[in-house]
């Protein structure tokens, strides 16, 4: 090829590229969904792109939740931020405080003139992500709540009723001992996410305060208070059960070692996110899995209350053009349409974020075909949320989660008692919250 021909060819191809870029507005979406969930996430973008021709959503996987969030923040500081970023619930405090860096969803929808009804969403989900005036700040995407999985075959072998999951912690202990003494398994139960399941959700489920000012929803001056007698009693029990083998610890954070203990039938019961359902069913071809609600102490007044959510929402970062923001609004409307939501909910085990998606799933016969799939929704909506069970919102909460893990490990290692561990969590956590308050 002569140089002239080459130059001509490249000019033509450049022009071609330029024209496609002009025709469609590109919307960058950073997310943290790997593996199977990642494929489902990409499929949502593909479906949206096929459904209209004005915008093109480009999803890109950015690693773990922490990596995605910190990556987006670093990109913002460099002026290269994506339009949409997926942020986990414990990052909510940080994102909310970043006025000027984010575009609240209610404002985005109003600016774009989009048809948008905030009342269509499940209050238990949306309540977590609204400002004190009740306006929606970010778009719920994947929300889940912890539930209990149990091994029906082990239950039957141990002489327990396989259709009856334990309702109270006393039953969890009794069932565990029966499983262990009958020799069917070496441990009773394990859990993922000690911080989220055995402290935050535990507190909400027993209507115990997590922090002052409505668990932090009321302002940055909040203080942690989850070192009350009910939580201390539960952590004391967990430490004792760990000593006796009734409970086995699955590690910090999400508890990476917990699922294998349940899959390999080392433990008969397992508490984790409702979004683990697909993974649990895939990994347990040898036995039947039953699903129940989280256990509670029946002598605590007000228990069971309702559980709270975890998962992530989509935040819109400031700096995009008006066209891009219109595109984001259209994409959010697409995501919350009943058909898309119902499909996403059924594929992944995440909660449906709108009432309509829940009703559609019911009408499609999903819950009758998949017993236990609606346990999470029933548990979350068991009672109207109180100020103690609406959720939680604290600055620097990513680090506080780490502190909870550390103190729990010290408790299990016998370095400190339950009261001491929770007092330390509160003291160290409050110091982090004060630091956040000072920086914002």
């Amino acid at each position: 090829m002569t140089f002239r021909k080459f130059a001509a060819a490249s000019t033509v191809s450049l022009l071609a590229l330029g024209s496609t870029a002009q025709a469609q507005t590109q919307i960058d979406w950073w997310h943290a969904m790997g593996g199977e969930l990642g494929e489902k996430t990409e499929a949502l973008a593909t479906a949206f792109n096929a459904a209209q021709s004005e915008f093109v959503v480009v999803p890109s996987y950015r690693g773990t939740y922490t990596e995605t969030m910190t990556g987006a923040i670093a990109a913002f500081r460099a002026g290269e931020q994506p339009d949409i970023v997926q942020v986990f619930e414990v990052g909510t405090g940080t994102m909310m405080a970043a006025e000027g860096a984010i575009v609240p969803v209610y404002q985005l929808m109003a600016d774009a003139g989009a048809d948008f009804d905030p009342n269509a969403f499940l209050p238990a989900v949306v309540g977590y992500y609204t400002d004190p005036e009740g306006r929606m700040l970010s778009m719920p995407f994947n929300s889940s709540t912890p539930i209990m999985y149990y091994n029906k075959n082990l239950f039957a072998a141990a002489g327990l009723d396989p259709e009856q999951p334990p309702r109270t912690w006393a039953e969890v202990e009794a069932f565990s001992r029966q499983i262990m003494s009958s020799g069917t398994a070496e441990c009773g139960f394990t859990t993922g996410w000690v911080s989220w399941v055995q402290l935050e959700n535990f507190s909400a489920w027993h209507n115990q305060q997590i922090g002052t000012l409505e668990n932090g929803f009321g302002g940055l001056e909040t203080e942690l208070t989850f070192n009350g007698p009910v939580q201390v009693r539960h952590w004391e029990n967990l430490a004792r059960w760990q000593q006796e083998g009734v409970f086995q610890y699955g590690g910090p954070g999400g508890g990476a070692d917990a699922p294998p203990m349940f899959y390999s039938q080392t433990c008969g019961m397992y508490m984790n996110s409702s979004a683990s359902r697909a993974g649990v069913l895939n990994n347990t071809p040898d036995f039947e899995v039953g699903i129940g609600m989280l256990p509670y102490y029946d002598d605590v007044a007000g228990a069971p209350q309702n559980s709270i959510i975890g998962g992530a929402t989509l935040w819109v970062l400031a700096g995009g053009s008006a066209d891009e923001q219109r595109g984001v609004a259209a994409f959010f409307n697409f995501l919350s349409s009943p058909e898309v939501q119902a499909q996403w909910h059924q594929d992944t085990g995440y909660l449906p974020i709108t009432q309509a998606a829940y009703e559609l799933s019911e009408a499609q016969g999903y819950y009758s075909a998949n017993p236990g799939a609606d346990t999470s929704i029933m548990q979350m909506t068991l009672n109207a949320p109180t100020p103690n069970s609406k959720g939680l919102r604290f600055g620097n909460y990513v680090q506080i989660r780490g502190v909870i893990d550390e103190e729990f490990q010290r408790l299990l290692a016998g370095d400190v008692d339950a009261q001491g561990a929770l007092d330390a969590v509160v003291a160290r956590g409050n110091a982090l919250i004060r630091e956040f308050e000072a920086a914002n």
Binding site: T66, T70, I73, F76, R77, T94, A97, A98, E99, G100, A101, Q248, Y249, G250, G251, P252, G253, D257, P260, M261, S264, T266, N396, V398, Q399, G402, D405, E406, E407, Q409, R410, L412, A413, D415, E435, A438, A439, N440
Partner: protein, 295 residues
């Protein structure tokens, strides 16, 4: 001995020849290091929307913080153990291979192999072997010695795990340098000593080890830097600094506070302190240890 001197006719030429290297140092070291120093005097929210100058507050907060002092202690234990173990095991292996007449090449290749494994991959391998729930080693320990290995809970187990992983990674590198060092020692010296009646141990202590000292000194510096910085991936993949910060070394804490906790001021202050520690250590090594080295 006469010193060689090259005279450049053009005064600008030496600077021009140095320029690429100086530019790289400035862009990739001086500029970021300067940024870190600047950041360490500021308090800033994650997005950089509000910035306050706080003077030495970030540094004072660190030294008032028992967790930081713990991390310092953990780093000292980890570094000393890793450096001593990786140097001595590598030296023993190099001595063994050096005596081999045949198949030394095969052994050398096998021993260098681990160095080609990325630290994160090595970390995952060890994580898998030592995993309390699914790993083979805890199972064997339980069966044979009745020892309940759980690095998720026991700080000592976790420390042993990261030391093993770091040492395993570093042995290859040290081995290669020791072997090259041994091969450059003239055989005649050792033979002469043997004729004079010196046994193998005597020969090792009085001839081999002193003649190896430049290599050992070089490796000491490199290994200390390795344990302080490059072990990040191993810690991240195996213990994540846990349990209860038992393996939270300084460089991991910099990452954890800065990139996970988004506390940039404190993280910057920690990296400045870490930089100073390395400068002081290197200075001490060159000033005092090098005097004992025979070139």
């Amino acid at each position: 001995m006469q010193t060689k001197r090259t005279i450049f006719g053009n005064k600008g030429l030496p600077y021009l020849l140095l320029a690429p290297q100086l530019a790289i140092t400035a862009i990739f070291f001086l500029w970021p290091a300067g940024q870190a120093v600047r950041q360490s005097f500021l308090r800033e929210d994650a997005f950089g929307l509000s910035t306050t100058f706080v003077g030495l507050r970030n540094y004072r907060a660190l030294f008032d913080n028992p967790e930081y002092l713990d991390a310092l202690q953990v780093t000292v234990i980890f570094s000393i153990a890793t450096v001593i173990l990786s140097l001595s095991i590598a030296l023993i292996m190099a001595l063994a291979v050096d005596r081999m007449l045949r198949s030394a090449g095969t052994y050398t290749t096998l021993l260098i192999w681990p160095y080609a494994v990325a630290p994160a991959v090595a970390g995952i391998l060890w994580w898998f072997i030592f995993n309390p729930a699914i790993g083979i080693l805890p199972f064997v320990l339980e069966q044979t010695l009745g020892y309940d290995w759980n690095h998720n809970l026991t700080g000592r187990d976790a420390m042993i795990l990261v030391i093993i992983a770091a040492v395993w990674k570093q042995i290859s590198y040290n081995f290669l340098f020791f072997l090259a060092g041994l091969q450059s020692i003239p055989t005649s010296l050792r033979e002469a000593a043997a004729i004079d009646g010196a046994g193998p141990f005597k020969r090792f202590w009085t001839i081999t080890l002193p003649l190896l000292s430049p290599t050992t000194f070089f490796l000491l510096v490199v290994n200390v830097v390795f344990t302080l910085f490059d072990t990040f991936a191993i810690i991240d993949a195996t213990t994540g600094g846990g349990p209860a910060q038992a393996t939270n070394i300084l460089v991991y804490k910099v990452y954890d506070d800065g990139f996970v906790g988004l506390n940039l001021g404190s993280s910057a202050a920690q990296s400045v302190i870490l930089m100073m520690i390395v400068m002081v250590l290197t200075f001490i090594q060159f000033r005092y240890v090098e005097r004992k080295v025979t070139y």
